[in-house]
Amino acid sequence: MPNATDFLLHAQNADGGWGYRVGGMSCVEPTAAVLLALTDPNARARGRDFILSSQNADGGWGIAALDSESGWMTAWAVRALADFADARAAVTRGAQWLVAAEGIRVTDPDARKLVFQVDKIDSTLRGWAWQPGDAAWVHPTALAILALVAAGQREHARVRDGVEYLYDRACPDGGWNIGNPWMLGRKIPATIQDTAVALLALRAAGVTSDERRVTKAIEYLRRAVAQARTPAELAWGICALRDWRVDTGDAPSRLNASQSADGSWNGNPFITAAAMLALKP
């Protein structure tokens, strides 16, 4: 995909980072995703430097240089920098921030019971939040697991906690959504992107396909990807199914067909990076 690479090289901002559109503000997430997809050494070095320069004093990362409050994008930064031998110190500090961070938990028995009545979830479990002061959610929890594993901490207790958290938030019909499998007695359906990232995290954490919730999630994802039409859904779905060695059917060719003339997917560096990862030979 030379033109996808060209698009990403063209989309790199002067500060070395990438935004969610060409010319958009550089953010940690799209920059980290592009670093995972791109091989050009010069662009990668500049991207790495952007992420390193955005690290907050507490070791974590906000969404961009303007955000001094560290949050969920720390996981992306750690995951991407883990591939750079010269970024080890930053990775260690980032991983420490992740280990110390957790979403708000409800431990009071009465309040816990109330939360269970509404959402049918165990609110005492440890996961990761989008930002400090929030409860834990599926997406940031899965990303944090991926980051800690990349940082060499697969056996850390927080990774195991994260896996338990994901099991608890699995949707009754398979897969994951933002983290509410139920709401006031109603099943809330899974989504492709949340399911994909959760499956990637569980695989990285060493979970096998014997696990019932994984089997159901893969089955959900296989069906959903077969009908998916958007580049983001196709890309994330393919990444997860490939990771679990599941046949992706004609999804890669549909993803290929949705590439724009400029080499991008939706003109978005983040989605383009995800598509490149999905279509990587």
């Binding site: 969404i63 006031l184 989504t191 983001a232």
Partner: protein, 351 residues
Amino acid sequence: MREKKSLISNLQSPISRRAFLRLALLTGIATGAGVIYKATEVVGFERWFRWMARGNRARLFAPNARVALAACAAYDADVLAAARAVWQNATMPDLRGARVVIKPNLVDFVGDLPCFTHPRIAQAMIQLARESGAREIIVAEGTTFRRDPQAILDATGYAAMLAHEQIAFVDLNYDDLVEIPLRGGYTRLKTLFVAKTIRDADVLISLPKMKTHHWADISASVKNLFGVVPGIKYGWPKNTLHIQGIPAFLAELADSLQTRACAVVDGIVGLQGDGPLFGSAVPSGIIVAGTDLLAVDATCARLMGFDPAQIGYLDFAAWAGIGAIDAGKIELAGEPLARFQRQYERPPQMG
């Protein structure tokens, strides 16, 4: 013994009427001050007093808010004509030369439930803005439950409509960000990141669906503003902001957005019961518009058969003087409200 008797006699001697009244007044003031101090301890007396004073000033001296209603029986009727009627009757902003951002509610799609603003009314607003001479028209939303809005745009018909109208969609969850000060002080947040597209708009048209909501009681033009805060900062479903307290945060949003905002509400078919996603359709045949978002929402509450004073965020924000909800402070124009009033089923958590 005699001395003791004399002392008791002095103590029991009646005080003058004037002294008694003074004492009662002082006791009353002290008790009242104590009660107010205790009751306002959480937010601080100064803030409470500022909000209370502004609210009273608004109730006593602010001009009436104007809210317009227009009948529109169905989405295949002449929605543009109805939109023109409310726009004119509600004395809405002049759009000539303006950068206009239309913000529908695209919370998600669930089968054929009318939980989102119908694309036909968004299309009518685009056409209205175009014929009014808007310099630039953008449709923008930051969805709540899905990181990828494309499936929602496809499933709701927005993708086709926007392509037909050749109008750009901006995903506010991934927009460039600006940090704005929160001037109300109703929550613990001092600042808020919002999408730059919203900050740079000359006119923001909140274009919600009229519906009930299991956490906010109702969802209309103010709740719809949740979509202007970016997911990349506050996550999906932007729960940090709910944690601040829904009435307080909605008041903060209504008070602190520096963009000139107005509202047009899709009440052609509303949603009752377990909103914002589930519940059931209620054909209501109405479009509501105004520049005072609280007055618009209060009118929607009445159209749905609820007392606005019983809706937490409306009651709080009106008390703090952010807008009007009293029927006596809202001047209605266009169709008579009573003709379109329905009794919507209450959401499960509503008191």
